[in-house]
Subunit: 272 residues, 2 copies
DNA sequence: AAAACTAGGTGCAACTAGCGCAACAGTAGT
DNA sequence: ACTACTGTTGCGCTAGTTGCACCTAGTTTT
């Protein structure tokens, strides 16, 4: 009926919706799982369908059910599979670098990658201060992420312009993100100095400093970002920025980048 | 036809087989992905079917395809979902404890959980020595895992006997695992002293030391294990064992265990 | 360069797996 | 007990998946 009759997606889509729902309640903290009925009406599907799907998913270990509350939550298999991802390797290598930054500055450090126009946080190393929100596995719009500027630093100008004009921002954040020219200047700064400073962030009153991580071909595959409390003077931001840039460079070398500072030649990116 | 006509499992099973195949080539290191045809004949399924399934999986982010080699590998979504698992929280909390052990003894430290009769390694902190194999996401039979004895320490005797008699061991490892009585004695040792020492392990010539991690209810939910080079004297094994036991106890407290010596288990634990 | 080979993708009719309804079975609250 | 739940199951019907054959695109052979 739709437009993809030949792709087996019906069952998978349902399963993914369920998994996303089990994972994604975002900021709620009642992680003790969800019942069949709740999921069903949240998804607008039949109870029976959800019940059977969950049973199948449980059989595969994608979800597991609390034996006493009979509620479902995400299962061990996801963990086992994720550990074999290339991202897992990246996290493994990056972990000591991030921890180094955190211990040096006592600020939260993050490792992020770009997925479409969203920034996915792979790993976070919280500072000693407060119990900070868990960011792993969370995606935020590119424009709103501290690591955003670093992740797109190598994009050609037109693509950046397209992104900025195409994205519609949530309420009253337009001014916070800054204009197109400002963005392009920031990207140039990343390419020349190796780090970016972002002034306005998502919700909390912190600035962000980030730097791109490159693979063996020199392509940006990830970014390190550090949130800095706004109470610091601007000079300190750049001090931290330099450190973050250097850390990202060393991480890149660990990932196979030849440590020769060469001009970034634009690798022709085909499809957006 | 079989016995589960009402559970939607056909598509899911196919997808899981694909994912497992993409994840699970075990010890190969060519992690540059796999092609459609290879997967299809490895699975004994139609090319077209696999092609379409992979496209659907890619659309959901469960797999991703290298744009140049056109090979598939596990995708970012798995990482995002796994980060929201309860296991992710466990790893987050346990990480500093494991790192503490590794830096103290310079031996590999692992965090494992029990899944059925398999021991799944959630996290490994390698020692500084050699590049050690990646164990995260790998399951090994309960009897062969260093953490095995700690994970089943609270099982009642009959259940342990059933397990030992039910399991068939691979070639010539029967003697290595040890007899039933020996196992039961080891479990008693875990309950009284808080750690287990395993002499014979999987492949490498290392002994293992492990200790159970308990949740807020006192139930064993995970285990820490440390592999110890056989060159150490036996006394050192117990020295490390005591440290691992203490670390596991502190981790348990971090997870909400009331740090009170419970009645039946270990009364002789001095206060720190 | 054409032929031969391979890997991956597509169109379509047949068929069966899974949907949805409704009835059923547990469990808790009153 | 009744009432109000949540979760599971039986079964006819339909829509989604299957498998074959064919097709496209890239790579090697002659």
């Amino acid at each position: 009926m739709t437009d993809k009759p030949t792709v087996p997606s019906a069952g998978l889509r349902r399963d993914m919706e369920i998994l996303e729902l089990l994972a994604g309640h975002g900021d709620d903290r009642d992680a003790d799982g969800f019942g069949v009925t709740w999921i069903a009406q949240r998804l607008g599907r039949e109870k029976s369908q959800v019940s059977r799907a969950l049973r199948a998913l449980e059989l595969e270990g994608m979800v597991e059910r609390d034996p006493v509350t009979r509620r479902y939550r995400l299962g061990w298999r996801l963990f086992a599979l994720a550990a074999r991802t290339q991202h897992a390797r990246l996290v493994q290598v990056a972990a000591p670098y991030l921890r180094g930054l955190t211990t040096t500055f006592d600020e939260d450090a993050y490792l992020c990658v770009l997925r479409g126009n969203l920034v996915l946080t792979l790993m976070s190393v919280p500072s000693s201060r407060i119990y900070h929100r868990v960011w792993e596995g969370i995606s935020v719009p590119l424009l709103m992420a501290a690591a955003g500027r670093s992740l797109v630093a190598d994009w050609d100008e037109q693509r950046v312009r397209d992104l900025l004009s195409a994205t519609t921002l949530p309420s009253g954040l337009e001014s916070a993100v800054g204009g197109t020219e400002e963005w392009l200047a920031d990207l140039a700064h990343v390419r020349s100095c190796g780090y970016a400073v972002t002034d306005v962030e998502l919700e909390d009153s912190t600035a962000g400093v980030s730097a791109p991580v490159r693979d063996h071909r020199g392509l940006i595959t990830a970014a390190i970002s550090v949130s800095v409390a706004r109470t610091h003077p601007a000079a300190r931001l750049h001090e931290i920025g330099a450190a973050v840039g250097e850390t990202a460079r060393q991480l890149s070398i660990s990932l196979g980048l030849v440590p020769h500072g060469r001009p970034i030649m634009s690798p022709m990116r085909g499809s957006p």
